[in-house]
């Protein structure tokens, strides 16, 4: 059987099985209420959706659409005053709504797992990673010596070359038995003489993870390397005798993609990066082999490249385990790429649901249409396909990209030359170069984007351009003058004309200041106008960012993230700047809000001739807004070209990786 037909027959088998067994999770007419100020707020209204065994189903919607609330009510973990007030949630045909807490403890972990949204806050800082994985195993009385395989997984496994004979075939390798096993395997492979021993051993070293690889997996590997069936099974039986708790913990972490898992298990969460923590959380979510995994925006806090790696891994893992996934996201492109079925939620209701491509190509509900239009990943996809079809791509862009001639002619408003910044690391002698010899210039009235992963030094560059951080060497030149030599008056003038908008709209506004005071502050500091003219100016600015003047008396906590970011932009605009430096200004926002803010920035540029320095990790956004792109990696500038060149002919492998990581890249979109 060729691989292609094998996959197809497997999928057909799977579909058959899904229909025959009915849905794994059946949510019908779900109603969830929260109580606030003595009133009931309807968070979810009559939501219905199904998840079949082994299927990825995505719930898409903006924040507050009720997507997370729906998922949490399935787990019985609604926050605060949330309550399921109607409808039914059935798992394996058994009603979950109305279970008491003891009964729910039996469901959670064993039957439904969770991969939460924010990897930074979802691990307890005082316990070792391994301990937190262990808790999941102990709580569900998992047998750590052998794999627990679902019916579906057994079916999937049986279609491979080896059939499962007995329960003991599911035993894991113990770390203490591994050296003996590897020796025996080498001997057997050499004796069989069919495969290259070095190559076979290399794959054994990689695949035979203690606490994760099973006896039949070992036998299968040996048979593939040319060892006879009987001998392969004999070796597997002799050396694979079941793992202990520590091996299993390491095995789970290794499955989730953590290298050197046994050592990592002894570390604490703060010693892990965001991506590594998310891998640990995936290991925890899958530890007790649930039939359903709820992944609540599992990668929205991570870089796109890390996001891709982690989702690829999660998909591979859930496919091999036969775990169904309820995937919550606000990015339609991401949802369409990962899930077979999409459920779109808006204001607590399911407004559309169907097979992914169907929803993407023929959205019915106006809200879905807006989502399809707003998703940056899809927008950039549209531009590419429009170009491919010879259509005019410009209507899909937020922004009229300046032609190369225009770019050549425009004067430089800010240039940086050989910018370098070094930091002293604790307990290390050598200096760490956060930014290493970076030069570029921003032309008047254009947008330059700096792209890179976290730690690439792009924010450090922004801070140096803003003069919030002194460069170790190199120059920042503004309007032809070196900013290092500025007198305090010139500096004040520079500050007035170069304004920042930061990533976190929650943190960059003072919670104790009213909106009016926040926007008025720069005017007051620079002594512009009197009370009345300042008031008029604030009104004008609010109008500019399309906010009603009634928000002036309100406080940041009363506004949504997108509204706050508008206020931050209004504040940056207060002094009629020439340059605005946006440091991940839209990264924390929902796609629809992100779209609105990007449009606002573009309109302002068209009207006022502003120049932008746009720092982001998301290339999809760059395509929509930038004229030129600078790609940074490990503090170095690796590529610098116009946006079209970067997208159409990326020169560096790193740039290609970044482009590759844009979700939805492989989707084919209908253009209407």
């Amino acid at each position: 059987m060729s691989e292609q037909t094998q996959v197809e027959s497997l999928q057909a088998q799977l579909a058959e099985k899904q229909i025959a067994n009915g849905p794994l999770l059946e949510v019908k007419d779900l109603k969830v209420d929260f109580r606030a100020d003595g009133r009931d707020v309807h968070a979810v209204r009559d939501a219905s959706f199904n998840v079949y065994p082994g299927q990825w189903v995505a719930i898409v919607g903006e924040s507050g659409s009720g997507k997370s609330t729906s998922a949490m009510s399935v787990l019985g973990l609604l926050p605060g005053t949330g309550k399921v007030v109607g409808g039914s949630i059935k798992l394996h045909g058994k009603e979950l709504a109305g279970l008491n807490s003891k009964e729910y403890e039996q469901i959670r972990g064993q039957q439904i797992g969770l991969v939460p949204q924010d990897p930074m806050s979802n691990l307890n800082p005082v316990w070792r990673i391994g301990t937190q994985v262990k808790e999941a195993l102990v709580a569900n009385h998992m047998d750590v010596s052998r794999e627990k395989r679902s019916q579906l997984a057994k079916m999937l496994a049986s279609s491979e070359d080896v059939t499962l004979k007995s329960q003991d075939d599911e035993l894991f390798i113990a770390s203490t038995d591994l050296p003996g096993l590897l020796d025996a395997a080498r001997e057997a492979v050499v004796k069989a003489g069919k495969a290259d021993p070095a190559k076979a051993m290399e794959s054994f070293h990689k695949e035979w993870e203690p606490g994760s690889e099973t006896r039949w997996g070992v036998a299968k590997g040996l048979i593939r390397a040319g060892v006879s069936d009987d001998e392969a099974w004999a070796i597997a039986k002799q050396y694979v005798k079941g793992s202990d708790m520590n091996d299993r913990i390491a095995g789970l972490l290794a499955e989730a993609g953590l290298p050197d898992a046994a050592t990592r298990a002894r570390q604490y969460p703060h010693e892990f990066s965001g991506g590594m923590r998310q891998r640990a959380l995936i290991a925890i979510g899958l530890a007790s082999r649930p039939d359903l995994l709820i992944a609540d925006e599992p990668t929205s806090a991570l870089d796109v490249t890390v996001q891709k790696k982690i989702l690829d891994h999660l998909q591979g893992l859930t496919d091999s385990l036969g775990t169904a996934v309820l995937f919550i996201t606000h990015d339609l492109g991401l949802a369409a790429e990962r899930a077979q079925h999409i459920v779109v939620m808006y204001k607590g209701q399911v407004v559309e649901s169907g097979p992914s491509l169907e929803v993407l190509q023929h959205p019915q509900h106006p809200y879905t249409k807006r989502l399809v239009n707003a998703a940056p990943s899809l927008a950039s996809q549209r531009i590419i396909s429009a170009k491919a079809h010879g259509h005019d791509a410009e209507k899909y862009m937020e922004h009229q990209v300046k032609g190369e001639q225009v770019l050549e002619k425009s004067e430089h408003i800010i240039s940086v030359e050989h910018l370098t910044r070094e930091f002293k690391l604790p307990r290390k002698k050598e200096m760490f170069k956060a930014v290493d010899d970076v030069s570029f210039s921003i032309k008047r009235g254009t947008t330059l984007a700096i792209v890179g992963e976290s730690g690439s030094g792009k924010s450090t560059v922004a801070n140096m351009v803003l003069h919030l951080l002194k460069p170790s060497s190199g120059k920042v030149i503004y309007e032809g003058k070196d900013t290092a030599g500025f007198s305090s008056r010139e500096m004040l003038d520079f500050r007035r004309h170069v304004q920042p908008v930061f990533q976190n709209p929650y943190g960059s506004l003072d919670p104790m200041y009213s909106i009016y005071r926040s926007i008025e502050e720069p005017l007051r500091i620079h002594g512009i106008g009197n009370k009345n003219t300042r008031r008029a100016r604030v009104k004008e600015l609010l109008e500019m960012v399309e906010m009603p003047s009634s928000v002036m008396g309100r406080y940041p906590n009363e506004l949504s993230g997108g509204q706050r970011q508008r206020i931050a932009i209004a504040r940056a605009m207060a002094l009629n700047p020439d340059v605005i430096i946006c440091d991940e200004a839209v990264s924390a926002l929902d796609v629809l809000v992100q779209d609105q803010v990007l449009q606002l920035l573009n309109d302002l540029q068209a009207e006022q001739g502003l120049s932008y320095l746009f720092i982001t990790h998301d290339l999809a956004v760059v395509r929509q807004i930038a004229d030129e792109v600078v790609v940074m990696q490990h503090g170095k500038l690796v590529e610098h070209a116009t946006t079209d060149q970067v997208f159409d002919h990326p020169q560096q492998q790193y740039t290609r990786d970044l482009l590759e990581a844009i979700p939805g890249g492989k989707l084919s979109l209908g253009i209407d």
Binding site: S101, G109, L114, P116, N124, R128, A139, G285, S288, R427
Partner: protein, 308 residues
């Protein structure tokens, strides 16, 4: 770690020097002549007074007195009290009593503070929480000497449940009521601290993740809510040991306990510089050592804290 410890211990030197100098200056600045006070109502015999002054170095300038005290203190010779007893033996009698009292108060406030704090925090908004909150607020707002006298009157004088005062070399029963009085204010603070910590921790993301693992409510409460909530409580408790020693002064006066507080009080009244400074120095040392232990404990409890 070793470097950190050494640095902290070296830091104690300026702290001790500074406090002793300050206390010495304060006692020196006290109005009235301590030697004249010794004669009581009798006329002052100038020859005897001069002799006493030179014996206790009271005739020398302030700064010389201070350095003489320091020089002697280094050889553990703290001199004599005006009554002729060696200071060291006075301290040796007073400190064990106060330490016993402070430790009993500490155990009392730790056990009941944490216990009521947990009950209150886990049942936020319910009647048990309300009652505990009101009681703790009462304890915080009433001064120790009021609680002390009230308890002494009812339990000691009126109902004869516990001894009203503690004599020389008091035992467990004698010190029980004073310890409760001494620990009560801190207990109330611990209740409130524990309650706040628990109610913030209970809605942390990692608690939800723990529940999603399928852990039982009891396990989640102990391993994730209590374990994390008790870090600041333990720090507070550690710092409080020092405060209890100092705070014992009022309680010791009320219950007539011959501890550090009482001795210090009388020494201040008599203007006995050496005795006051000796006692305060030891208390400062206890304070500094306690805060060092607390900081080290903090690193043990919270793996994110590392000292280098």
């Amino acid at each position: 770690m070793g470097k950190y410890l050494l640095r902290r211990i070296l830091q104690m030197i300026p702290v001790v020097l500074g406090t002793t100098l300050l206390i010495y200056a304060l006692v020196f600045a006290l109005p009235g002549d301590p030697v004249a006070a010794m004669f009581g109502d009798k006329p002052v015999n100038q020859a005897v007074a001069a002799q006493i002054r030179s014996e206790y170095n009271l005739d020398k300038p302030f700064i010389v007195q201070y350095f003489l005290f320091l020089k002697n203190a280094l050889t553990l010779n703290f001199g004599n009290t005006f009554a002729g007893q060696p200071v060291i033996s006075v301290i040796g009698r007073a400190f064990p009593v106060t330490i016993r009292l402070a430790l009993m108060a500490f155990v009392f406030e730790a056990i009941f503070g944490v216990l009521f704090g947990i009950i209150s925090g886990l049942n936020k908004g319910k009647w048990s929480d309300q009652i505990i909150l009101i009681l703790s607020l009462l304890l915080i707002s009433i001064p120790t000497f009021v609680t002390g006298f009230v308890m002494q009157f009812f339990f000691g004088v009126k109902w004869h449940i516990l001894p009203a005062t503690a004599g020389v070399d008091p035992g467990f029963i004698d010190l029980l009521m004073p310890a409760i009085v001494l620990g009560s204010v801190s207990m109330a603070s611990i209740i409130r601290l524990t309650r706040t910590e628990i109610s913030t921790n209970i809605s942390e993301d990692y608690v939800r993740t723990a529940r999603a693992k399928g852990m039982s409510n009891f396990q989640v409460t102990v391993r994730h809510i209590l374990r994390n909530s008790l870090i600041p409580v333990v720090t507070y408790l550690g710092a409080d040991i020092g405060a209890l020693m100092g705070g014992a002064m009022i309680t010791e006066r009320i219950f007539n306990i011959q501890g550090v507080g009482n001795t210090l009080y009388q020494a201040i009244l008599r203007g006995e510089g050496t005795l006051v400074v000796s006692i305060v120095t030891i208390m400062v040392m206890i304070f500094v050592v306690c805060s060092l232990v607390v900081d080290l404990l903090y690193a043990v409890l919270d793996p994110r804290i590392r000292y280098a």
